[in-house]
Subunit: 376 residues, 2 copies
C-alpha cells in the first residue's frame, strides 16, 4: 500500500528542531503506521497547514520484520520500502548499535536514548480485542518507561482503561487514542476539548464498517462471503473476520466509548453482543421495504447507576440520521444532559483517515507537552 500524499521522499533529519520536537518509537509498522509516517512528513512540509508536528523516528518494532533503534533518526521511508518489499529491517540498524531483541526491548532502548526529548510510542499492532493483548502490555511498558502513548488500538482502552489511565497519570504521561472509534473523526477529543460542563447520558452508533458493508450487500442481494472478501481485499475488514461478523469489534468500541465518556469500567466481554452472522438478504430487504434500514447498532446507556452496552442488528427508521450511514460511513449520536443529541458522521474510512487519527493525537500531544513544560 502506497500513499500518494507527498511529492518527494521522506527525510526526517531535514526537519527543523524545536522545543516541541519529539522522538517516535513505532510499535507495529503495518499499513496504518506506514501511512502515518508519510502523512506526517507531508504535513510537516506544508507551511499553510496549522501545527505541523516535528518528529523523528528513533525505533521501529515489528513482529515479522525485526526491530531497530537509531539514536540519530531512522529513515522511515526506507524502512517502509523494506517492509513493502518483504524484507527485514536490520539493514537500517546503525553500525555499532546493537539490534533490539524484541518489541519491549525496542521500547526500553528508545526510552533510554535522550531523556530531554519527549518520547512517544505509536502503537498499531494487531491485537485480540477480547483481551486487548499484546497492545495493553506495550502501553504499560511505554508509560512505565516514561513515554507518552498514542494508539489506534481499541483493545487497551476497551479492556484495561481505568488501570492504564491511572498508570499514565502516575507517570505524568499522556495516553491518546482518537483512532479507536471512527478513525480521525473527533470523538474522544470532541467531548474532552469542545463539550465542557456536561454529562454524556447515552451513545448510539454505527461503528463497524465491515458489517455495515455486509448488510448493504445483503440489501442488494449479494452474498455475505463475496462482500466480506471485497472488504478484506480493500484493507477495511480485519483479517480475522469473526471479530467483525460476531460483533467483537463493535463491542470493543462500545466498551472503549463507555469507559472513557461514561466512566463505565467495563470490558468487551460485558457487552451484550449479537453479530450479523444470522442475517439474511430477506431480513435486510424487509427492513428496507418497511421504509427503514437494518444496521448493526451499538448502544450504551445508564440504567439504575450502571452503564449498559449492547451491540445488535436493529431496524432504524429512515428519519434516524444513523440510517444514512451507508457503505464505509460511520456515525455516532452522543446524548447529553444540556445540549441534547449531537451526531458526528464519518463519510469514508481509509488508511489515510486512520493515519490522520495518529497525526491529530500527535498534535494534541505536542500542545499538551508545551503546556506541561510552561506550567512546570
Amino acid at each position: 500500500v502506497t500513499l500518494a500524499v507527498s511529492a518527494g521522499p521522506c527525510r526526517y533529519p531535514k526537519l527543523q528542531y524545536s522545543r516541541a520536537f519529539v522522538n517516535l518509537v513505532l510499535v507495529g509498522f503495518g499499513n496504518v503506521a506506514r501511512a502515518f509516517v508519510r502523512l506526517l512528513d507531508d504535513r510537516a512540509r506544508c507551511p499553510e497547514v496549522l501545527d505541523p508536528p516535528q518528529a523523528r523516528v528513533v525505533g521501529i518494532a515489528t513482529a515479522r520484520h525485526g526491530c531497530i533503534v537509531g539514536p540519530d533518526g531512522i529513515d522511515a521511508e526506507a524502512a517502509a520500502a523494506l517492509i513493502e518489499a518483504g524484507e527485514r529491517l536490520h539493514a537500517l540498524q546503525p553500525a555499532g548499535i546493537a539490534t533490539p531483541r524484541d518489541t519491549l526491548d525496542t521500547i526500553a532502548r528508545a526510552a533510554a536514548l535522550d531523556r530531554r526529548v519527549p518520547l512517544v510510542m505509536i502503537e498499531t499492532t494487531r491485537l485480540d480485542v477480547r483481551d486487548g493483548e499484546p497492545a495493553a502490555t506495550h502501553v504499560r511498558a511505554a508509560l512505565t518507561a516514561g513515554a507518552h502513548v498514542i494508539t489506534a488500538n481499541k483493545g487497551p482502552i476497551a479492556c484495561a482503561w481505568p488501570a492504564l489511565r491511572d498508570l499514565a497519570a502516575r507517570h505524568r504521561r499522556h495516553l491518546l487514542f482518537e483512532g479507536v472509534v471512527m478513525d480521525g473523526i473527533p470523538v474522544f477529543n470532541l467531548v474532552r476539548e469542545t463539550l465542557p460542563a456536561l454529562t454524556v447520558t447515552r451513545l448510539r452508533g454505527i461503528v463497524n464498517t465491515t458489517t455495515n458493508f455486509l448488510i448493504a450487500a445483503l440489501e442488494e442481494g449479494r452474498s455475505f462471503d463475496d462482500a466480506l472478501e471485497e472488504m478484506q481485499a480493500r484493507g477495511i475488514a480485519e483479517s480475522d473476520a469473526t471479530l467483525d461478523v460476531d460483533g467483537w469489534d463493535a463491542a470493543a468500541k462500545a466498551a472503549a466509548l463507555a469507559n472513557v465518556l461514561m466512566d463505565a469500567g467495563i470490558t468487551p466481554m460485558m457487552v451484550d453482543r449479537t453479530g450479523v452472522g444470522g442475517l439474511t438478504a430477506g431480513d435486510a430487504r424487509a427492513a428496507r421495504d418497511a421504509g427503514g434500514r437494518l444496521k448493526l447498532l451499538m448502544e450504551v446507556r445508564r440504567e439504575g447507576g450502571r452503564v449498559l452496552a449492547r451491540v445488535s442488528p436493529q431496524r432504524l427508521t429512515a428519519a434516524d440520521v444513523l440510517a444514512t450511514a451507508n457503505g464505509t460511513m460511520n456515525a455516532l449520536t452522543i446524548s447529553t444532559d444540556r445540549l441534547g443529541d449531537i451526531t458526528v458522521v464519518q463519510h469514508g474510512g481509509s488508511l489515510v483517515e486512520t493515519a490522520y487519527a495518529l497525526l491529530s493525537d500527535l498534535v494534541t500531544l505536542r500542545r499538551r507537552i508545551v503546556r506541561d513544560s510552561e506550567s512546570a
Copy 2:
C-alpha cells in the same frame, strides 16, 4: 421564559473565588442571556460535571430596561425576574454608585472595576445581520477596554471578522462565538481544537431552523404564514422574519464560517442569496415525491483562489445526511483535504442550547486565561 435547570435561586456571591474567577458584563439580557445565567449557576453547583465555571455578573446593559453596574456582583436571578415582570433594572443599582448612562458606559464602567479580575462581555443584543450593528460596536468597545468577548451574534463575525480578530490579538484578548452557528454544537471549536494540520476545502449545511421548519410545513401542505407564526411563538424564529425567509440569517452564518474556517474575508452582502419566499407546497412535495428533500442549503467553496458562498433552495437526495435534518435540526458537512468529509448534526435547538454555547465558550475562555497566565 423560565428555565427549569436549577432547584434553588441563583446566588453568585456564594460561589468560591479562585484564580479562574471572572467578572461578566451582560450586554443584552433577553431570553438567551437569562437562560445563560441560570445555566451557569446550575453548572457551577454540580461537582460531577467538568469545569464548573466561576463567574460573577458585575454589569447588565439592556436597550429597554436600563443599565446597571455592581462592583460586588449583581443578583442575576433578581435582574431576570425584574425583566420578566416588565420592570426596569434600576432597583438593583447599588446605592452610592451612579447608574450607567448607556451600553458603552456600562462596558467602560465594568472594565474600570478591578483590573486584576478578567472581564468578559457576554454579547447577545438583537442586531441587523446585514451590517453587524450594534453588536460589532459593542465588541470593539469591549476589546479596546481590555475585556474578553463571548458573543452569540453572527453579525460581527460575518461582517467584520478580520478587523475584530486583529483588534483582539492587539489587545491580547480572546473573542469567542461558538453560538453563531448551530448553537452550542461545536463547529468553530471542532475545527480549531480537534482537527489540526488540515485544510477546510468546502462547507455545506442546513443552518437556518426557521426556513427548515417552513419547508417541512410546506411538505405537509400547511401554509407558510401559519408555520412562521408558530416558530415565532416558540422563540426560534427571529422577530423580523425577513432575515430568515430571505436567507439573510443563513448568509450571515455562511460568511462567518467562510471567514473563520476558510479565511474568506467576505460579508453577508457578498453571499449569493436566494430565500424561500418563492417556494410553494408543490415545490416541496415534488422534491419529496422524487425521493429527495427540498432544503435551504448553505454552500461555501474555493474556486480559483477565491472563496464563494451561496444560500439557495436545493433538492437533496435521500442519501445525503443533510436531507435528514428535519424540523429544528441543523447539520453541517465540513470537507477537508486529509480526513474527507465530516458532518455534525444538531438534533434540536432551544434557548438552553444557545445558552450552552455561551457557557462552553466561557469554559474555553477560562482554560485560555489560565494558560495565558502560566506562559506569561
